[in-house]
């Protein structure tokens, strides 16, 4: 009786989603893999087959490695900052006081805003003339500009070769941390009530309790968080594109801003799709490594 029209049902109900997804997501992906084997300007139908040349060129491309390094910095520094802040805030948010209730209402604000708004807002925060940050810095005697290093580089924050990337990372953390706070809040909620109670009775308090009980039990959430971080930091685009366009002098270049340049400025679509594939492979590889490395958690439970 359960089989009454079961197959028909499955097909009908899956069809719209599979069709849309297949045509507009999967098909372009396959085409992208195809384009990467050609030299194509994207401005005409003239395509020349070049095999793996685009990939070879990518491997020898300094800009690509520079961009990848910047993605790595964003992952390591931005990621660490996010993890630390998220766990701390999630932990502190567990009470039911008015303060924590208020905090719960606002922590997601930055994350739900358009990246465009975030990028432009923070561009103004860093602006040498009207900026929020710079006026604070002026209070402390700093300037909108500064002379750093022996060469006396004299620039604004987003125009500074040394300060631009950290500034972008700060903005990224501000924007993204809300989601991870939510993730870790969920994780903390899941800690079985009995464990929490029992540990309290045993006298485990505050930081000690946090380190020995809470933290290990957050392991599985932590894994998910790190995977999300890998994806989001390796695929960051809009924020960098809008704030610095990869500058100054490629000091904030990331893989996807370089991809945009290859496709739409250098008219080299083959190189662009080769880069996109490399980006995807790196994301999968790093995620895979993270999953593997974090298989065993400190409580001895393997995943």
């Amino acid at each position: 009786m359960k089989n009454r029209g079961r197959t028909a049902f499955i097909v009908t109900y899956l069809a719209p989603a599979v069709l849309l997804y297949g045509v507009f997501v999967i098909l372009p992906v396959l085409q992208a893999v195809g384009y990467s084997l050609f030299k194509w300007s994207g401005l005409s139908s003239k395509k020349t087959y070049v095999g793996f040349d685009n990939f070879k060129q990518l491997f020898h491309d300094d800009v690509f490695w520079q961009a990848l390094l910047h993605n790595a910095w964003i992952f390591l520094f931005g990621g660490s900052a996010i993890l630390i802040v998220a766990i701390a805030v999630a932990h502190g948010m567990q009470g039911e006081s008015r303060a924590t209730k208020a905090l719960r209402s606002v922590y997601l604000f930055p994350n739900i805003m358009s990246l465009v708004v975030v990028a432009i807002l923070w561009e103004f925060v860093y602006d040498p003339h009207i900026g929020l940050l710079t006026s604070v810095m002026k209070l402390f005697g700093g300037g909108a500009t500064h002379r750093s290093g022996a060469a006396g580089i004299d620039t604004s924050i987003l125009g500074s070769p040394t300060q631009a990337l950290p500034a972008v990372i700060v903005t990224f953390v501000w924007f993204a941390v809300g989601f991870y706070i939510m993730l870790f809040s969920a994780g903390i909620r899941q800690i079985p009530q009995e464990v929490a109670e029992a540990s309290k009775l045993d006298g485990a308090e505050g930081l000690f309790r946090f380190r020995k009980i809470t933290l290990p039990l957050l392991w599985s959430v932590g894994r998910i968080a790190v995977i999300y971080l890998v994806i989001n930091t390796l695929n960051v685009f809009a924020l960098v594109f809008l704030m610095t366009q990869g500058g100054p002098d490629r000091k904030t270049e990331v893989m996807l801003t370089y991809l945009y340049e290859q496709a739409f400025v250098n008219s080299d679509y083959g190189a662009a799709t080769a880069l996109a594939i490399a980006n995807f492979v790196i994301v999968m590889a790093v995620s895979g490594i993270v999953l593997r490395l974090t298989r065993k958690d400190p409580t001895g439970v393997s995943h």
Binding site: S41, H129, T155
Partner: protein, 445 residues
């Protein structure tokens, strides 16, 4: 419950779909013949002076040629819409795609129709050939392998700008040489202004405003031509090194506005117009670009970048840039496109353009009118100049162009030394030389 959910979903779906589908895109299919005449689609970049002039010209042409129908559309980033149309083989008949379009990639891919034959035909008013109506130094910039692909319409002159009232008030004279500049700058600083500012976010202003003028002043036009022609070693010639050192000298002396490296073009130009800085490199589009936001009473005047004392180069050398129009190969009605463009480039229309839009045109004799005041000096300098040149390497070789911008940015903010700077440029030029797929251009004078 289910019926309500379903009803809501279908209602909003239908509504949404209806609105999404009805509100048009801008990818109208190329119009077929309507009436006796032919149809022409013209797409133009929309900049400081808009596209009204071209739309007006279209109406006038229609009145003179009943039956023909011309539509002119445009936008500030119109090349983005044009790119897929070129790839699909459905471009418009006549277009000025704007600075974001890779013209040369189009030309290499045979997407641009060469107009040499058309140039040999009579001009719109019948006097002489069409080719004769153009200023040859500007026409030359659109050539490739002996064929004419790009057609100039208006052109810009690049130089420095200063406020004549401020200079007069303080008794400063416009510096004609680098030494005079070095003497003047401390006086400007003492008056509480930054001597120079620049559009830090867009290093090509600095390349055109500082680097190349000084390269030419030191090493003659050949130094620049060799570099643009990718002659080995040209990018780290002595001329380039010295020019880079001059930039460093200005920076070390504190003569650039604080924080300029992070300023956009409108921000730095506003600073100049507000009197925070005394001089700024820019093109003859400055006034039309800043018209709406200029502080009242702001004044500007054009000057050539100061030349190097004892330099080899022609002190009257002047930098220009054309804004190219093209006729796409796959566009319909080439003949009508050519004829309409002939109309646009007739002497009367060209003169009208200058008055209405405040920019000079490539048509000989079009500047023999009462020019808008800000164009008088640049036009005079252009007429008297013995060496007219243009920066084209960045459109010919986009990777070299990108690297030159990055390197210039690094030079301007001090993170690269002049030696590092020229090494980077030479390395980037070498990469292009090695890339056999890139056609080679030569620039000569």
């Amino acid at each position: 419950m289910k019926t309500r959910v379903l009803a809501f979903c279908s209602a909003s779906a239908a509504l949404g779909l209806l609105m999404a589908g009805c509100s048009g895109g801008s990818n109208e299919p190329a119009a077929g013949g309507s009436g006796n005449g032919k149809d022409l689609e013209v797409v133009s970049f929309q900049g400081g002076f808009g596209i009204e002039f071209f739309q007006q010209a279209a109406k006038e042409y229609e009145a003179k040629h009943p039956g023909d129908h011309i539509t002119v559309t445009g936008g500030p980033r119109v090349w983005e819409q044009l790119r897929p149309r070129f790839a699909n083989g459905t471009p418009p008949s006549l277009t000025w795609p704007g600075w974001g379009m890779d013209y040369w990639a189009l030309i290499y891919d045979n997407q641009v129709f060469p107009v040499d034959d058309a140039l040999k035909t009579p001009a719109y008013d019948g006097k002489g050939t069409w080719k004769d109506t153009f200023d040859p130094s500007l026409l030359k910039l659109g050539e490739y392998k002996g064929k004419q692909y790009e057609l100039p319409y208006h052109y810009n002159i690049m130089g420095w700008w200063y406020n004549p009232d401020t200079f007069a008030k303080h008794g400063w004279t416009v510096p004609k040489t680098f030494k005079e500049l070095l003497d003047l700058c401390p006086k400007i600083k003492a008056a509480g202004m930054a001597p120079l500012t620049y559009q830090g976010k867009y290093p090509d202003y600095s390349i055109k405003g500082f680097l190349f003028p000084w390269v030419i002043s030191i090493g003659g036009i050949k130094a620049a031509d060799d570099a643009q022609s990718l002659v080995p070693g040209a990018w780290k010639s002595d001329a380039f090194l010295q020019a880079a050192k001059m930039v460093k000298q200005l920076r070390d002396a504190g003569f650039f506005e604080d924080g300029a490296s992070g300023l956009s073009h409108t921000q730095s130009q506003t600073d100049f117009l507000e009197g925070k800085a005394a001089m700024i490199p820019c093109g003859t589009w400055l006034e039309s670009e800043m018209r709406k936001t200029m502080p009242p009473g702001a004044k500007m005047a054009f000057m050539l970048p100061p030349v190097v004392d004892g330099g080899k180069g022609d002190p009257s050398a002047i930098m220009i840039g054309i804004e190219p129009w093209i006729i796409p190969t796959s566009g319909p009605n080439h003949d009508l496109a050519i004829d309409f463009y002939k109309y646009m480039t007739s002497l009367d229309k060209a003169k009208q353009f200058i008055t209405q839009c405040g920019t000079l045109t490539a048509i000989k004799g079009s500047d023999q009118i009462t020019l808008p005041p800000l164009l008088v000096e640049p036009a005079k300098l252009f007429r008297e100049s013995k060496t007219v040149y243009s920066i084209q390497f960045d459109t010919w070789y986009s990777t070299l162009g990108n690297e030159s911008k990055n390197a210039m940015e690094a030079l301007m903010n001090g993170s690269n030394t002049p030696e590092q700077f020229v090494d980077r440029l030479e390395a980037a030029a070498e990469k292009v030389r090695q890339d056999k797929s890139k056609p080679v251009h030569t620039m000569t004078h």
